[in-house]
């Protein structure tokens, strides 16, 4: 439940960013603070080396970070779910081919692939989403396929088939509703991973430097020598925000998993 509260908090912050902080504070032009001012009443989280309020950056950064997290996850889910359900449902050589393909993607180490893709595709928010999306679907696909296989074998599917139902009916009425909760729980875990991935890619300088996300703030701070300058207020807020959000997503994911997976329940 703590997870939900934290999530709610950050969602509200992201949505209400324009109310909480002036977006002009994102541009050094509109920045009013001094260079690396420590936290004060005016700047509760201090300023960065361009005089921007770190609080403003963190608040607006939540938008990009969460957005990347959600869109990348959505992309990964769609790919994973389509491949997983198609493979599981149709079976046969189609399944073999699709799952081989998935396995290939599964063993290719994520970050090197993301690095290669990002350096080939160029640095933009869209590419980051794309890269995370297309590198993180295989896990979902496997999971969805396994669940589809098990749902497909359930007698009610056979019953519907015996009633004369076609593939579309079976997939939409029986498979999907029963796979969906799992996809959903998985989605939540993937969001956490996607947000972490965004951070890592941005940290390596593969993010879009024109969009402020928690990852880019950290990159600026890291490369701007925040630590040696003693500017902890520059490193901490985005880092703690990441930890909290990822933690919250993970906790919600596990909680859902536990609800959906009765075996984990207390015996």
């Amino acid at each position: 439940m703590a997870g939900l509260i934290i999530l709610g908090f950050f969602l509200i912050v992201a949505l209400a960013a324009p109310l909480l902080a002036d977006s002009r504070g994102l541009s050094p032009v509109g920045a009013t603070g001094g260079v690396l001012d420590p936290p004060s009443l005016d700047y509760p989280m201090g300023t960065d080396d361009l005089g921007r309020s770190v609080l403003t950056l963190t608040i607006w950064g939540s938008r990009i970070s969460l957005m990347v997290g959600f869109f990348a996850t959505a992309l990964s889910m769609v790919i994973g779910a389509v491949i997983g359900i198609a493979a599981g449902y149709y079976g046969g050589w189609r399944e073999t081919a699709m799952m081989r393909f998935t396995d290939w993607f599964l063993v290719i180490p994520f970050l090197p692939l993301a690095i290669v893709l990002a350096s080939i595709l160029g640095r933009s928010l869209f590419n980051i989403i794309l890269v995370i999306g297309i590198t993180s679907w295989p896990g979902t696909a496997r999971l969805v396929r396994a669940q589809t296989l098990s749902v497909k074998e359930r007698p009610y599917v056979e019953r519907a088939r015996a009633l004369g139902a076609g593939d579309w009916h079976l997939i939409t009425r029986h498979i999907l509703p029963n796979v969906f909760p799992l996809i959903f729980a998985n989605t939540i875990l993937v969001v956490a991973i996607a947000i972490l991935s965004e951070t890592t890619l941005s940290f390596l300088g593969l993010g879009d430097p024109l969009r402020i996300s928690w990852g880019t703030i950290l990159e600026f701070a890291f490369n701007g020598g925040a630590a040696s300058r003693g500017a902890w207020w520059w490193l901490l807020p985005p880092g703690v925000a990441i930890v909290l959000v990822v933690l919250a997503f993970t906790m919600c994911g596990y909680a859902l998993d536990e609800i959906l997976n009765p075996r984990l329940r207390r015996r």
Partner: protein
């Protein structure tokens, strides 16, 4: 923790000087390397025929003790010193010079050939003499940054092999030789007591690579390294107040500019630069709309100087500073006035001006480098100012590769990049010549082309007198400044910091504020020595507020866990059955 104020690696009685940097060595092969750390090695390992003096970069004796130019200016005679030996004991002779130059000329070795391209013939009447004739009169040979290589080593390396030859350790004639190279880690060089310029006073020089600037700064503070090179402003600032450490803003030949696409269509049919940028008045108006002082203060935190022309003040003899009245002062009204006058008006009321024919709005693609935060930050200021003069910009961060491609294909309007020219202005001047425009040439990134300029460029190459040449070069700079294919934003500085409580003998090249390490020579390294008298011991630095925040951050949760453990530690017995 207190450190004994001794040099970093004085173990085993050796005097070791350690510098830290964030850049890795790429190769020890001079035909291959491009990274600064490699050049650090070359400066210490090899000699030039003619060195650049420490005080003002003027020609000074290198392997050549003395030289002579014939009256027609075409023939140069160099006297090679007889006290120079290669690290393996072989003597350095005129043949080595001949060999090196010839090899570069024959193989058209990329980074070096430009320096000596005017050479016609090389003769070696005796071991100690080199006679070079040039096709035209030139001063180029005195500023040629070509490392002289030992013939007896390199003659066995074929042209093909040269591309991948490791050259480890390199055999040179300089004051230090490489003894150890841990890739990605450090390299270690030992001094060569027989060096013709006198034995260095340190025994050993270590170059350590830090990928994390914070670690580098900490290492300097902790005394793990003695010198930190190429720092960013923030860490640099943090070192300013530290006792025992001296900081230095080194004047280096470097500048950043906003470049415009002023005519790619002339050479590339499908280039798509914005037509408004062909109009010099638009560019001048934009030059009026950039407050360089703000950028210098806010983006560079004041480290560097305001930029004007394309030859940096580093090349003191050749830098031209426009007169006060000729400067494009920051003046948004003036900028607006120029644009109004030129007929670029906002006809549709969207706050963006259109072309005089009322068509295309002045909306420019503005590329910055995703690898370089300063360009990103600058763009946010520039965008804002341009908005105020009715010019819209779409800022996009590209990696260098993509940006290079865009420029090469002429598919851009404006970009932010920088140059690091040689002390001699020839190269930086060359990039504005017509011949350098892609796709035939390579270096022009503004597609600037001007007949008069090209003529002057040829002229400066062949003027044998420095002062006379400078006049021509002034004119050229003035022209480029006024035509504004570039807005030169600033000349940045190399931020350096070192343990002044341990070391002394640093020499600037050039004086008074040049680079403390190897600007274009090995002066510091030969002169460097430990502080003799025991300096004040490092004062105990108490844990700063900063430390406690971190400690709290980690200890807090741990404590909570511990408390939770204590509270919840109930029956732990085995009986669960």
């Amino acid at each position: 923790a207190a450190q004994t104020p001794s040099p970093s690696g004085s173990a085993a009685g050796k005097l070791t000087f350690t510098i830290g940097d964030d850049n890795d060595l790429d190769s020890m092969n001079p035909f291959v390397a491009v990274e600064a750390p490699a050049f650090q090695i070359f400066f210490l390992t090899y000699d030039f025929l003619v060195n650049l003096s420490q005080e003002d970069l003027s020609p000074s004796p290198g392997l050549a003790e003395s030289w002579d130019q014939s009256d027609d200016g075409l023939t140069w005679t160099f006297q090679i010193r007889d006290d120079a030996t290669w690290h393996d004991g072989q003597p350095v002779t005129a043949h080595d010079v001949e060999y090196t130059y010839n090899r570069i000329l024959e193989e058209e070795q990329g980074s070096f050939i430009d320096y000596i391209s005017l050479i016609d013939t090389i003769e070696v009447p005796d071991d100690q003499t080199v006679v070079i004739t040039t096709k035209e009169p030139t001063l180029q040979l005195l500023t040629a940054l070509v490392f002289i290589l030992p013939e007896h080593i390199w003659k066995d390396i074929s042209t093909e092999e040269a591309g991948t030859f490791e050259n480890n350790p390199p055999v040179g004639s300089g004051p230090f030789k490489v003894v150890e190279w841990e890739k990605g880690q450090f390299y270690r060089m030992e001094s060569v007591p027989e060096y013709w310029g006198g034995a260095p006073r340190i025994d050993e020089f270590v170059y350590r690579i830090f990928n994390n600037e914070d670690a580098l700064v900490q290492a300097l503070r902790a005394g793990e390294v003695d010198f930190a090179d190429s720092l960013n402003a923030n860490p640099f600032n943090s070192l300013k107040e530290t006792t025992g450490i001296t900081t230095h803003e080194a004047n280096i030949p470097s500048f950043d500019e906003i470049g415009f696409n002023v005519g790619a269509n002339d050479t590339i049919p499908d280039a798509d630069g914005h037509p408004a940028l062909l109009d010099v008045r638009v560019r001048q108006a934009m030059a009026h709309a950039v407050d360089k002082q703000v950028i210098l203060d806010r983006v560079l935190q004041g480290y560097g100087t305001i930029g004007t022309t394309i030859v940096p003040p580093f090349s003191a003899a050749y830098h031209y500073e426009p007169a006060e009245e000729d400067l494009f002062q920051f003046d948004l009204e003036e900028a607006n006035r120029i644009l109004d006058e030129a007929g670029y008006e906002d006809t549709d009321g969207d706050d963006v001006r259109e072309m005089p024919d009322g068509g295309e709005p002045l909306r420019f693609r503005y590329f910055v480098r995703s690898e370089n935060n300063s360009t990103v930050q600058t763009s946010q200021f520039v965008q804002d100012w341009f908005n105020q003069i009715g010019i819209a910009t779409e800022v996009e961060a590209l990696d260098d590769t993509t940006l290079t491609d865009a420029i090469f294909e002429g598919k851009y309007d404006m970009f932010h990049w920088g140059w690091f020219p040689d002390p001699d202005p020839d190269f930086i001047l060359s990039i504005f010549t017509c011949g350098q425009r892609p796709p035939d040439g390579i270096w022009s990134d503004s597609f600037y082309c001007d007949e008069e300029y090209d003529r002057m460029y040829q002229e400066q190459k062949t003027v044998a007198d420095v002062a006379e040449r400078a006049q021509v070069i002034f004119e050229m700079q003035k022209k480029v400044y006024e035509d504004a294919p570039y807005i030169v934003l600033y000349y940045d500085a190399n931020l350096q910091a070192y343990r002044s409580d341990r070391w002394t003998g640093f020499l600037n090249q050039p004086e008074p504020d040049g680079d403390l390490l190897s600007g274009y020579g090995n002066y510091t390294f030969v002169n460097l020595r430990p502080v003799t008298k025991g300096a004040a011991a490092d004062e105990e630095e108490g844990g700063s507020a900063f430390t406690w925040v971190w400690v709290g951050l980690v200890a807090g949760p741990l404590l909570l866990v511990a408390v939770a453990l204590l509270i919840r530690r109930r029956k732990g017995e085995e009986d669960r059955a």
